[in-house]
């Protein structure tokens, strides 16, 4: 059905997308006790001129985007993680000992143009 979808413009601006990392896909579920996988997310999308407020841009990103609108040799600002959080993992180490460890910056909480 090629009927155009009215009122729903595909949002291509920089935003967070779902990305689930399943440890069983790489056969790591034999030593990672918990969690079975985790929502890592990723950032993707355009950083168009002018940068909207919700795109969490920096002053530098605004300048870079502005320059890009005049001179395309200068790239646009990049859509990157601006806020990350940690996950805890319970696993068996190389010596069969049970370890609970906190790993920082494993989950994307917010994206922005930087």
């Amino acid at each position: 059905n090629t009927k155009p979808v009215r009122g729903r413009k595909k949002n291509r601006s920089c935003r967070r997308h779902a990305l689930y990392v399943d440890f069983s896909d790489v056969n790591w579920n034999d030593w990672i006790v918990a969690p079975p996988g985790y929502q890592a997310f990723y950032c993707h999308g355009d950083c168009p001129f002018p940068l909207a407020d919700h795109l969490n841009s920096t002053n530098h990103a605004i300048v870079q985007t502005l320059v890009n609108s005049i001179n395309s040799n200068i790239p646009k600002a990049c859509c990157v993680p601006t806020e990350l959080s940690a996950i805890s993992m319970l696993y068996l180490d190389e010596y069969d000992k049970v370890v609970l460890k906190n790993y920082q910056e494993m989950v994307v909480e917010g994206c922005g143009c930087r």
């Binding site: 790489v26 790591w28 034999d30 030593w31 006790v33 918990a34 969690p35 940690a86 996950i87 805890s88 993992m89 319970l90 696993y91 068996l92 180490d93 190389e94 010596y95 069969d96 000992k97 049970v98 370890v99 609970l100 460890k101 906190n102 790993y103 920082q104 910056e105």
Partner: protein
């Protein structure tokens, strides 16, 4: 025809070699990929756990609370989240003692039976600084009918660090008291003893690890209950292996590798 067939052979040979090279390259790439991830997780190589590996319930409970999967009191009202112990740590490790090194140190059966617990802590990486450690012992409720009409049966549990072992096994080792507690028989629960000074000596100060000694004194002096309340040795209790694996003494270390934030309890999602 001859030259053509040889060309095909040569070509297919080349293809096979190329295919082999590319599959080898892809295998190497995967190996590098895995090595990078393992390094990120602080591991030297991919763990290959044995079938006999036991996951202590305490570690599972800690994980659930830490990751916000459950709240305190949801599963076990006796479970206390070690807020203070974990406040400066990003890594918690659990250890069972080497049972074959468990030694009865006093031959006289009329005395209480202190046991030596030797924990192999060599798997703790050098760059991990331990801030605290606890020894967890399970004590089992003694039923009223087994008390011979006695009220208020108390036990004292003493936990020592062994500083030096004598040549003569009949003599007492040199030890220092780390923690002590008087407990009553009327409940089944885990008791946590602070053994941080000993574990910090063994890991940070690199002093020899002669282990811990646990002594359970029955204050009401009824020999029939001796050795039955506190689960410190497989040999002292007639329980199944599965029960023993979950109730046996557990050493838990709290450390920080300097790489990430401490374990702060997250709200349930």
């Amino acid at each position: 025809e001859k030259s053509q067939s040889s060309l095909i052979v040569e070509e297919s040979k080349e293809k096979t070699t190329e295919h082999g090279r590319s599959s080898r390259q892809s295998h190497e790439l995967l190996q590098d990929f895995e090595a990078t991830l393992l390094q990120m997780f602080g591991l030297q190589r991919r763990p290959k756990p044995s079938r006999s590996a036991i996951i202590p319930q305490y570690m599972l409970d800690l994980y659930k609370l830490q990751s916000g999967e459950s709240e305190v009191g949801e599963h076990d009202s006796n479970f206390v989240y070690p807020e203070k112990l974990s406040s400066r740590a990003n890594t918690v490790r659990s250890f069972h003692h080497d049972e074959h090194l468990e030694q009865l140190m006093v031959a006289d059966k009329t005395e209480s039976v202190p046991l030596r617990f030797l924990f192999n802590l060599s798997s703790i990486p050098e760059d991990e600084e331990l801030s605290s450690a606890e020894l967890r012992l399970y004590r089992y409720k003694i039923e009223e009918k087994d008390l011979d009409g006695q009220d208020g049966v108390f036990h004292r549990i003493n936990v020592y660090e062994i500083l030096k072992t004598p040549q003569n096994t009949k003599r007492h080792p040199i030890m220092r008291l780390l923690d002590t507690r008087v407990v009553q028989h009327n409940t089944s629960r885990w008791e946590s003893f602070d053994v941080s000074p000993a574990v910090i000596h063994w890991t940070r100060d690199r002093l020899p690890n002669y282990g811990l000694m646990v002594e359970v004194l029955h204050l009401s002096d009824t020999p029939t209950q001796q050795g039955r309340h506190v689960r410190i040795s497989r040999s002292l209790h007639l329980s199944s292996d599965d029960e023993w694996e979950q109730l046996r003494p557990l050493l838990v270390t709290f450390g920080h590798d300097g790489k990430s934030h401490p374990l702060t309890r997250r709200a349930k999602r």
